[in-house]
């Protein structure tokens, strides 16, 4: 049934030339915003092949149901606005939409085909991360967990240190066939996964390394609180852990580091998602008494009340 239903998305509309169309758009968006039901709005038109008419006639035949648009949570290149989108976007989505709308995004809001292309591009990026974190079951069964873990880290661009050997970095090519054979029983003692796209699934490879002493997850964009809750499996060997600069880690994830009773050095500086870095550092230091915690510094966030106080601290230390 061809029902010519006027339904435009309830977002800031781009530039429509006709005043009539703009007024009607505004009115309908107010109607659809305020009351969250639109009669007949859920009628689905699957006419992917038929072109839609924009503008003056204001007869746009589509609806929003079933559009499974995906949007990445990690900071990725947003084709629409042409900028890196991070997690701090929660502040003012409306304003950012109005500023950065390109033609592609404008069309994607109005045409199923363009929206499907956008979804596909975003979905491809999600799948890329999943592909990077796939498990190497064959290598693991054949050559052991150390080789599988090392291959995984080196393929992602990290560095690995086997016991009694030097650091190895291989720019994305992983271990060579000879090295598989050479290292199949040599435990790994240190891993540097800085900047790698490792996520919850990929952490399986690291958790199989039972002699791991030092782990560096600096600036990993997909490591979040859920991943930290898995680190308890390395509690017997892990002595050094660095989480600096990870955008998704908050104090809730840091709370589950208390299982790491062997930990001696912990770096939790520059975590943007932690709400109160100074207080968090104090609490983490209390939680892990044997560990040296490198963080923001407990004095960060403390306000000096009077200006004289600040001058005094500059000139002479305040007696304890």
């Amino acid at each position: 049934m061809d029902s010519l239903i006027l339904f435009i998305k309830d977002k800031a509309v781009g530039s429509l030339t006709s005043m009539v169309a703009e007024l009607i758009t505004e009115e309908v968006s107010q109607l659809s915003n305020g009351k969250s039901h639109c009669k007949g709005a859920c009628r689905e038109q699957r006419s992917r092949s038929s072109p839609r008419m924009l503008g003056l006639s204001s007869q746009i035949c589509f609806s929003q149901s079933g559009r499974q648009s995906l949007r990445l949570a990690a900071p990725v290149w947003n084709w629409g606005t042409g900028s890196i989108r991070g997690l701090s976007r929660a502040v003012d989505p409306e304003g950012i939409q109005r500023k950065g709308r390109t033609l592609f995004q404008f069309l994607a809001d109005r045409f199923y085909d363009v929206a499907a292309v956008r979804e596909y591009l975003l979905r491809k990026q999600v799948l890329k991360v999943h592909q990077k974190n796939r498990s190497f079951t064959y290598i693991k069964e054949r050559y052991g967990p150390y080789v599988a873990g090392a291959h995984f880290i080196l393929k992602q661009g990290g560095a690995v240190k086997f016991q009694d050997k030097e650091w190895m970095r291989s720019s994305g090519r992983g271990l060579s066939f000879l090295e598989f054979w050479e290292f199949r029983a040599v435990p790994i003692e240190a891993v540097d996964a800085s900047g790698c796209a490792i996520n919850y699934q990929g952490l399986d490879h690291l958790l199989a390394l039972k002699e791991l002493q030092s782990l560096s997850l600096r600036c990993c964009p997909h490591v979040d609180d859920w991943c930290l809750s898995r680190l308890h499996q390395l509690a017997d060997s892990l002595q050094e852990l660095s989480l600096a600069g990870c955008p998704r880690i908050s104090e809730r994830g840091l709370a589950c580091l208390h299982h790491l009773w062997n930990l001696r050095r912990l770096d939790i500086s520059h975590l943007p998602a932690v709400s109160n870095p100074g207080l968090t550092q104090i609490l983490v230091e209390e939680m892990l008494p044997n560990c040296e915690v490198l963080g923001a510094g407990w004095a960060q966030g403390l306000k000096l009340g009077l200006e004289e106080q600040s001058q005094d601290t500059a000139s002479s230390p305040i007696p304890a």
């Binding site: 010519l4 009351k35 859920c42 559009r67 648009s69 859920w226 968090t280 209390e286």
Partner: protein, 466 residues
């Protein structure tokens, strides 16, 4: 018209536009009576109750439908502010420490859903969801009597989670013992991964946003009547059975006598604490007691209190959600030494569920002594605030009711979870959607949770209830 002042001109223009819209073909042609504020006249599925379970069913129905836009879903919610809804008043915990395998599987899938929530519930151009999940885990303590049951439960859980629990690990790890030095217990079980607590309001908002973008309609109103048609059928043994099919739902608008008869094919009852009333409206339970017609839905509202207190010397950042064998529980809230907790009252102490007033004496008399006994630091604490919420309590066996009713053939239930509905909502929503679309459970088999167990008397008893 040009003689009107400018401010009235706007109102006139909007009225004219409304009239134009109603005349343009494709809009509803109601020149006499504007019904745009009422729910639609037809809908394939009507979901009664817009809490986390109702929205989860709506999400999975739209996600699992065979063709995009094949199913029209309407969610009817009486209170859009969710002021009495169990979802938002919940403490928000999620755990896999149950005794029934089905419950463990439901929680496992739900936790995987929450972990990947930004892939499931992504809406274009909207910021990602932050559930504020605390992966600190649940710590269940067991008295001497309960230690054997707990050991069994842990074995079942590890089988389902496919993990290896080393023997003797039922004793607590050293880190936990450091929490409360003078505990007088023998054993406990702590979940190290995939357990914790999160913010239910953000889950609700995320589901609502996603479900609206998928085309589900929302309406604010109260279901007052079900109009059904009956059919007489004979069982193989010759008994006569009357099967009913609901074909209309009357939705009454707030503060008005207007109602809209919504023609529907399937009704899903996710009304939470009020599911019993909705079931009675549909005629479930009207019959001689002891027969299938006379079996009511045994879900009723039970009031539970949650208290927020401050204790400067309390357990630190590493504290899990501790559940005492006496029924008291608490968890840390934020970084400022605040704790949330409560206790389930015994059958004699059940408060009156007529309102959501808080009884502070209950804390003084019942909850505080139990807490102070378990954690000595809690002897000095100060209650900062408290609230009350409803459990959709299943008086039969405290486990959920999922699936269709045997006699009212197109009413599906997803209710009665007695305090663990929030943590199982994503998986239960999927199960109900599978039941509606395929006719049987596909991923997790919830046959022990069907309605017929109330008539047959088969309890699916869950032992680890807080």
């Amino acid at each position: 018209m040009p003689s009107l002042p400018f401010s009235e001109w706007d109102g006139k223009v909007s009225e004219i536009k409304k009239k134009i819209q109603s005349v343009i073909p494709g809009g509803a042609w109601n020149p006499l009576y504007d019904t745009s504020h009422l729910p639609p006249e037809h809908s394939d599925v009507v979901i009664v109750g817009g809490g986390v379970l109702g929205l989860s069913v709506a999400y999975w129905l739209k996600r699992l439908e065979k063709q995009r836009g094949a199913i029209k879903v309407l969610v009817v919610e009486r209170d859009h502010t969710y002021s009495q809804a169990s979802t938002v008043l919940s403490v928000g915990g999620i755990r896999q420490q149950f005794s029934l395998p089905e419950n463990i599987q439901l929680s496992l899938f739900s936790v995987e859903f929450l972990r990947n929530i930004n892939e499931y519930l992504a809406v274009v151009d909207d910021p990602p969801l932050d559930l504020q999940f605390n992966p600190s885990g649940y710590l269940f303590l067991a008295s001497e009597k309960g230690a054997a049951t707990m050991e069994n439960n842990v074995k079942v859980q590890s089988l389902i989670k496919e993990e290896h629990v080393p023997p003797g690990q039922q004793g607590l790890p050293k880190a936990m013992l450091a929490l409360c030095p003078s505990m007088g217990f023998d054993s406990g079980a702590v979940g190290l991964e995939n357990e914790g607590w999160f913010d239910p309001w953000s889950l609700l908002q995320g589901l609502r946003r996603k479900v609206q973008s998928m085309g589900v309609l929302f309406c604010q109103g109260e279901v007052t009547r079900f109009v059904s048609s009956s059919d007489r059928m004979e069982t193989p043994s010759g008994e006569e059975v009357i099967l009913k099919k609901i074909h209309e739902v009357h939705v009454k608008v707030d503060h008005s006598q207007e109602y809209q008869p919504v023609e529907c094919a399937i009704v899903v009852n996710t009304a939470g604490a009020w599911s019993g009333q909705i079931a009675e409206l549909a005629g479930i339970g009207k019959g001689p007691p002891g027969t299938l017609q006379g079996t009511k839905l045994p879900v009723e509202p039970r009031k539970r209190y949650v208290y927020l207190w401050h204790c400067p010397q309390g357990p630190g950042l590493e504290a899990p959600l501790l559940a005492d064998p006496s029924g008291a529980y608490f968890r840390r809230d934020g970084l400022g030494n605040n704790y949330l907790g409560g206790c389930s009252p015994t059958a004699e102490e059940e408060p009156d569920p007529g309102n959501l007033e808080v009884d502070h004496d209950f804390f003084q008399d019942k909850v505080w002594p139990l807490l102070a006994q378990r954690v000595p630091a809690f002897e000095t604490l100060k209650v900062k605030s408290a609230w009350a919420g409803y459990y959709d309590y299943n008086t039969f066996d405290q486990n959920g009711v999922v699936g269709p009713h045997p006699l009212v053939v197109n009413m599906y239930f997803a209710t009665g979870f007695s305090g663990h509905g929030l943590q199982q909502a994503p998986a239960v929503g999927r199960a109900v959607a599978e039941m509606v679309l395929e006719g049987h459970f596909q991923t997790i088999d919830l046959s022990p949770f069907l309605f017929s167990r109330f008539y047959l008397g088969e309890k699916a008893q869950e032992h680890c209830i807080i």
